[in-house]
Symmetry: C2
Subunit: 327 residues, 2 copies
């Protein structure tokens, strides 16, 4: 297992910088008043492909040597990572094969197609994804880019917090959602790298996840990676990007830094999502509403004066909004 | 009639600059490909109060001398201008009285209340608005800030195009929606001011409006200000911000510069609105989708290499989205 290092954060950023958007940071008086402290949102929903995942995909795909890249790249994804790999492969000029669950949102399927990738559908389970991907790789000899358990992906994701800290150096806490752990562990590395470079206190990094997919919380408690329970699989969280199991690379970094995991209810996620839509006029996925829910529910220690939240993505099926359909 | 001058654009901007957001400019490869040219969006939906109207309100309210300001300010508005005046008055520390049609979107009513203004409801007609406002002003002696037919409001609105041109100096055309004409005429002044200051060709400014509220088009054709037809009042456009009649100050500037008005269908407005939501992950009102509709329907001369669109606002009632209710 190759664990990425904070000393590689700056180098990765310089590599992908020409290809990614430097996304804006937003704040609002109303949110600050509600939380009782300054809250800054790093808007990765305005990143290319509409999610931070493009950062990791670029950092994994672009530096591939011809021998590995020639047969293309492959991955499995419920959406954002798939789009990200498809677009990164398009930039590099190599084929991309994306395994997607057949119930993936229409808009994500269309976007992957638009970037010229080949889609292979599978049943919506982790096992079916992995089996189907295995077959695709056997047939095509494509290079597999894991959505989060890949050192270069983790380093690519670190660039969001890296930009964030350069823009708001007074951040004392960054909160990210946690699915596989790529963004979270990347953000931890970015905070360490920023701390090493500047004479500023280390910014803490905390993760938020749905109670209904609290595998990261249980993993940190038990010290070994846990999966969703049968009940959590049968009654899945609305935060569809956070249903995945943590990768062992992110988990290693989380364990090393004793990362705190905050769990929030489904109701508070929908409420926080709608709040951001209405107050910030921007579209965010349910998954990115999870840290906002933690803030609005006062689940964060109130001593932080400047809190940053990474808004992870905005690819939403507008025909199925949580406040227009029965919960 | 006091007509604002392009030589006052820079001064107005410096006055309101500390109070407004410098909003981001977005673009997307997909939109560029669809239109066949570079399209830049100036995102005033991320302005304070969620709309460009805050610029005009600041420039009208903040410099008021005590004698005029002491009794507060008053206006009528279906929403965004009301919020803007309420917030500007809050900053200045004076009362605000906002006359609103009783069918105004809930979210706009709530926002006006949150800024501490007093709301007076009226029937949803231009006449009822004006009569009710008259009464309010008689009772309170408040200073009336017209939503668009006010030199300082027009100059305040000019700051959006002013920032836009400084960020993208290669813009050859700016398209705005037209309701009362404040943003359009302000943008014309900004383009003239920028042209006077820099050795660059004059950026053209064009307006787009719904066919179903084509009063600006008919006004320019006939040379005198026209109202909506009875049919257009009975079957109102979805672009609720554009149902107003042009003010004579904006009309004077439009006539002087022979402003072109492009008309688009209701169907194309809804399509363009949804397109921006899905591709840019941002919430825009139907009114701001009107210039995008003109672009997507290829109603713009294809010789422009760099086109700017001012995205005017993002205050939408999420319970009543046009693609979730029968058209």
């Amino acid at each position: 297992m190759h664990i990425p290092k904070s000393s590689d954060v700056a180098k990765s950023y310089e590599r992908i910088k020409p290809f990614i958007h430097h996304t804006p940071v937003f704040k609002s008086t109303d949110l600050n008043n509600k939380v009782g402290t300054n809250v800054w949102l790093k808007c990765e929903n305005f990143q290319k492909v509409g999610a931070f995942k493009f950062r990791g995909a670029c950092n994994a795909v672009l530096p591939l040597i011809s021998k590995l890249a020639n047969n293309g790249v492959a991955t499995h994804s419920s959406g954002n990572h798939g789009q990200a790999i498809a677009k990164a492969a398009q930039i590099k000029g190599i084929p991309a094969y994306i395994v997607m669950p057949e119930n993936a949102p229409r808009i994500k399927i269309e976007a992957v197609k638009n970037y010229g990738a080949e889609i292979v559908f599978c049943e919506p389970t982790q096992l079916a994804r992995e089996k189907t991907l295995e077959k695709v790789i056997q047939q095509t000899k494509a290079y597999f880019v894991h959505p989060y358990n890949d050192p270069n992906v983790v380093l690519g994701q670190s660039s969001a917090a890296w930009e964030f800290l350069h823009e708001i150096p007074e951040l004392e806490l960054i909160i990210t959602p946690i699915g596989g752990g790529g963004l979270l562990s990347g953000s931890i590395l970015a905070a360490e790298a920023f701390h090493a470079l500047n004479n500023l206190p280390l910014c803490k990094v905390t993760a938020a996840e749905p109670e209904q997919a609290n595998d990261a919380y249980r993993s940190m408690q038990s010290g070994s990676i846990q999966s969703l329970t049968d009940k959590q699989i049968m009654s899945p969280t609305i935060a569809d990007g956070l249903r995945t199991t943590i990768g062992n690379i992110p988990f290693h970094i989380m364990r090393r830094t004793h990362t705190e995991i905050i769990c929030v209810s489904e109701e508070s996620i929908v409420k926080a999502m709608r709040y951001i839509w209405e107050r910030f006029n921007m579209i965010i996925e349910a998954s990115c509403a999870v840290p906002i829910a933690a803030l609005l529910e006062n689940k964060i220690t109130p001593t932080f004066k400047n809190i940053g939240v990474i808004i992870t993505g905005g690819n939403v099926d507008l025909d199925h909004l949580p406040w227009n359909s029965p919960q």
